[in-house]
């Protein structure tokens, strides 16, 4: 640790912890084996606070704060698992399930899906809001991969990994609010993309079955994400 980096102390769920001042609540929690759920945050990419599943309570602050995008402060008292937070998280999950068309039983990522895993872990027994059942077209134009927006939760991991790590910026978000969707290039078919290098990083960071490899049947698509922290370190010239 360089001498210019300061250490701050805080408590998370009553546990006293110390950390570098430039760390986020999520980083510090995870270093101390305290579980904070997340679907958009992933080690190695810039946090965006899109999914809101990592919301935590901070004493003295009325609103809930995203742990992935909130820096620690001296004397902070963080609660990661209150009843209030648990209720919000379940509601967020239910809205994610109702917004897309998530049919776990016939999904390539069944059994390997981060959304499905969190639904179980956070005790989402059913979805209380009506399902939207909107029509979203599958893009199977790429030689090796398929994009199924029915399973997309707009976490933007694909957008960030393509931009920050691969440097291609093939993916982006189009539209606003409920009409937001993930596109390749200027909303052209993925297979026609001039910028895509077919590296597959987007497929592997995708938390659901929205991006997957061709030829995979139900439950066969497991993702490999170990590469990401190493590539990030290499980019920063630390290794």
């Amino acid at each position: 640790m360089s001498p210019t980096v300061r250490v701050k102390t805080l408590t998370i769920d009553g546990q006293a912890v110390g950390a570098r001042e430039d760390q986020t609540i999520m980083q510090v929690a995870r270093e101390n084996n305290i579980f904070v759920p997340a679907l958009c945050a992933i080690e190695g990419l810039t946090p965006v606070g899109a999914c809101r599943l990592c919301i935590v309570e901070v004493k003295g602050v009325n609103k809930l704060l995203p742990a992935c995008a909130t820096r620690i402060e001296e004397g902070m008292e963080v609660t990661t698992n209150s009843e209030r937070v648990a209720n919000y998280r379940r509601t967020i999950l239910e809205m994610l399930f109702s917004e897309g068309n998530h049919i776990c039983s016939v999904c390539v990522s069944n059994g390997h899906c981060e959304l499905q895993t969190l639904a179980k872990k956070l005790g989402m027994t059913h979805v209380r809001v009506p399902y939207r059942s909107t029509m979203r077209r599958v893009d199977a134009s790429h030689e090796r991969f398929i994009a199924d927006p029915n399973r997309c939760i707009l976490c933007t991991r694909c957008v960030r990994v393509c931009d920050e790590i691969e440097g291609a910026h093939t993916w982006d978000v189009m539209g606003r609010g409920i009409n937001s969707r993930i596109i390749t290039d200027l909303s052209q078919p993925w297979g026609d993309s001039d910028s895509c290098t077919s590296c597959g990083k987007c497929v592997n960071v995708c938390p659901t079955g929205a991006l997957f490899e061709k030829g995979k049947a139900v439950s066969e698509m497991s993702k490999r994400q170990e590469f990401l922290p190493y590539l990030t370190l290499m980019r920063e010239g630390k290794k």
Partner: protein, 179 residues
């Protein structure tokens, strides 16, 4: 005189019958259960009318047709503890995949476009579809949700055994969507 047996029913709405197959997969444990429960209505028996005063009903399938709708209202009226058994009952699962397309397109696809012999949309015998395939809890109150496609025989046995003991089964570690 022995204590009266618990009255249990099962009903099959729009599902593949996989949940009922999983129920049968309990094998010899079914015989054990038969000492404690009376199965008073199920698609596996020839009973026409859903009985009154049922203690527990396990519901397989989504509410997809008008017939499903009428039946689930009848079931709710006569059931103390209503259990959504499996992903179709809980989320409408595979039957809901027709929802984005609408009823007309779905029927045309099934009965006209993919048919070579006498293609026509049925007007009798087949119950008409509702605008959307819906989860059971979107129509009536549900007391317990048992995820899985289908839930395993062990899970179903655990649910029944816990209910017989008067407890609410904790399924958090036992099953999930798509299990």
């Amino acid at each position: 005189m022995s204590t009266p047996k618990v009255r249990v029913a099962t009903i099959w709405l729009d599902g593949c019958s996989g949940c009922h197959m999983s129920l049968l997969d309990m094998d010899e444990r079914l015989i054990e259960l038969a000492d404690k429960i009376d199965v008073v209505y199920t698609p596996l028996m020839d009973v026409k009318q859903f009985p009154k005063d049922v203690d527990v009903t396990l519901v397989e399938g989504a509410v997809n047709s008008h017939e499903d709708y009428e039946r689930i209202l009848e079931v709710r009226k006569n059931t103390k503890i209503l259990v959504s058994l499996g992903d179709c009952a809980i989320s409408a699962n595979v039957p809901s995949m027709r929802n984005p397309f609408g009823v007309e397109v779905t029927l045309k696809r099934a009965y006209v476009e993919n048919v070579t012999l006498n293609p026509q949309i049925p007007s009798k015998e087949v119950p008409p579809l509702m605008p959307l395939a819906r989860p059971v809890h979107a129509v009536v109150k549900v007391d317990l949700f048992v995820q899985g496609c289908p839930p395993s025989a062990d899970t179903i046995h655990f649910v029944i055994a816990e209910l017989l003991e008067g407890r609410t089964p904790d399924l958090s570690e036992r099953t999930r969507f798509g299990a």
